[in-house]
Symmetry: C2
Subunit: 167 residues, 2 copies
Amino acid sequence: MSQGHHSRGETLLFLTDAQLRAGIEAMFFAYRGFTADPDRILARYGYGRAHHRAVHFINRWPGTTVNNLLAILGVTKQSLNRVLRTLIEDGRVESRVGERDKRERHLYLTEIGRALEAELAEAQSARMRDAFRRAGPDAVAGFREVLEAMMEEEQRRQFRGTAEAAE
Amino acid sequence: MSQGHHSRGETLLFLTDAQLRAGIEAMFFAYRGFTADPDRILARYGYGRAHHRAVHFINRWPGTTVNNLLAILGVTKQSLNRVLRTLIEDGRVESRVGERDKRERHLYLTEIGRALEAELAEAQSARMRDAFRRAGPDAVAGFREVLEAMMEEEQRRQFRGTAEAAE
DNA sequence: AGTTTAAGTCAGCTTTGTTGACATTCCAAG
DNA sequence: CTTGGAATGTCAACAAAGCTGACTTAAACT
C-alpha cells in the first residue's frame, strides 16, 4: 500500500491509498450531482445527456461541422447522428450544407434551441456557482488545476482552446 | 473577461458565465479522462462501468448488503442485479446469506475479484496521483472542497462517511 | 395470522454507445 | 477529363445498462 512518503523539494504530497480513493469517490459522487439538474430538465423534453452535450457545444461553436463535434465529444458519428437528427427534427438545431465543401454540414442552434441551451446552462451553472461560492476562490483555482491535469492530453488541448476562447 | 477579484471578508466571487462554463467543460473532459483507463481494462474482461462501481464499493465495504449497495449506487435493483449476477457467475463476487437476518445477502470479493479491483484501482489511482502531483497540495484541497460542495446532499453524507472511514 | 421487508426474476422499454454497409462529394493522379 | 480513393454523413442492426411494473420467495416483525 503506497505510503504517501513525502519527498521531493517541490511537490511534497502525502498521497496515501485512502486519499486517492477518496478522490476517486469524490469524482463519482460529484459527477452525479453535476448532471442531476440537467437530467431532470432533459427528461421533460424527452432528451438525454447526449442531447445536452451536442446542444452545449453547438452553442459554444456555432457553425461547427459534424466532424468537429465528433472530435470534441469522442463518440462515433453514428451515435452523434441519431441525437442530431432528433434535435433537427424538433427544430432546435439547423444543419446547413457547407458552401465551400458541400460534404460538410454546419450546425447552428435555432431560437428554441438557444432557449433550451440557456435553460440547461442556467441549471448547471447554478450548482457550479453555489459550489464555487461555498468552496471559495482558492479552492476554485485548485479544482480547475486538478481537473485539467486529469484530462487526456488531447482533451486538455481542446479544453485550453475552449477555455481561453472564453475569456 | 472575468477578473477574479479577491475581495475577502467572506467569499465574494465574481463568477462570469465564461468561468462557470469553463468549469462545466472541465468537469466533462476530466471525467472522461478519469474513466478512460478503467474502461480499457474492463473491456478486456467483457465488463462495463457498472461492474467497476459494484466491485469498487464491495471492496470498500466487504459484507455490504444488496440494499446498501443500491443506496450508494443509486440504481434500481434490476439493474444492479444483472451486473451482480455476472460477477457472481464469474466467481469474482461471493454472496453469503446473512446470519442474523437470512433475507439479506452479504457481498464479498473473492481472490480473483480482489485482483480485478486492484488492477482497476491502480490504473485510476495512477492518473489521480499524477494529477495531484502536478497540481500540488493546495490545489488538491481545493479540488476536494469544490467536488464535495457539488454533490447532492445525500451523496455528500455518504461521501463523508466513506471518506472518514478511509483515514 | 397477517403484514412488511429483502432479494431476486421476468418482461419490456429507452438511451446511447458500437460496427457494418452505403451514398454523396471532393480532389488529385493519370 | 475521368476515375479512383478519401472524407463526410446517413441508415440499419446490435449491445450495455439504465428504467418501470408485476410478481415470487423467504424471513422477520407485530
